[in-house]
Subunit: 109 residues, 2 copies
DNA sequence: TTATTACATCGCAATATTACGATAAATTGG
DNA sequence: CCAATTTATCGTAATATTGCGATGTAATAA
């Protein structure tokens, strides 16, 4: 039926899955990487950089914005996007918590 | 058109996105968390635990297996699944690399 | 005001994902 | 051998995602 049964899972599980979904597209990874290196935040010249249509980039930016990973501020006729350091650290910790839950020394497999 | 233009991105970006996609469903998060705490690996009594149909769980397990995050070994009539520690650490590092690329002290936003 | 620039949103077509019943395959117990 | 058990796979319906052209909106420039 194509619809995830979120009611079967905890809020944390749903939240982490939702965040992971935003990372689950190479264009959004590329946007984040670009924002990391161009610390001075940029706008839709990601269109030039990535080779996707303007509408498509805008859509990816919105998804990144919706989970709070980036912020946009109007700068004249254009919009400056940048990573939100607070949220970035939060998301990092969510993944970290999952990964560190598994003890490296484990003779299971 | 619903098809990701992977040729526009680097192998690393595509790889990380593909891995993130596996984390992008609460059932798969739940399976991983269950495997973490039930260090002794288990099989499809995840059906009982999660409340999804057997076929659905099997499908999720396959996706986790396809990126190497878990391994299954035949144990009589059933299959024991467990986390692959090597791959787990690899994936952890991939995310870690992305997250640590952004300096926490950054007066951008 | 009008034109230009930059971005967001709408609407659609192509494709992917999710969930599950039905069925197949493989193993154990008799 | 046959039945029972467990898991995998197939097929399909419902829904979600991806990409983009077209259009809307807002700000600046002339």
């Amino acid at each position: 039926m194509g619809v995830t049964k979120t009611d079967l899972f905890t809020d944390q599980q749903n939240e982490l899955a939702k965040i992971a979904k935003v990372f689950a597209h190479p264009a959004r990874i590329a946007i984040l990487e670009y924002l990391i290196q161009a610390n001075s935040c940029i706008n839709g010249d990601l269109v030039q950089e990535l080779g996707l249509a303007q509408a498509t980039i805008s859509q990816h930016l919105r998804e990144l914005k919706e989970i709070g990973l980036i912020k946009g501020s109007i700068e004249g006729v254009s919009v400056n996007y940048c990573i939100d350091p607070i949220r970035w650290a939060e998301v990092q910790n969510l993944f970290q918590d999952l990964f560190s839950g598994f003890p490296k020394i484990s003779g299971c497999c």
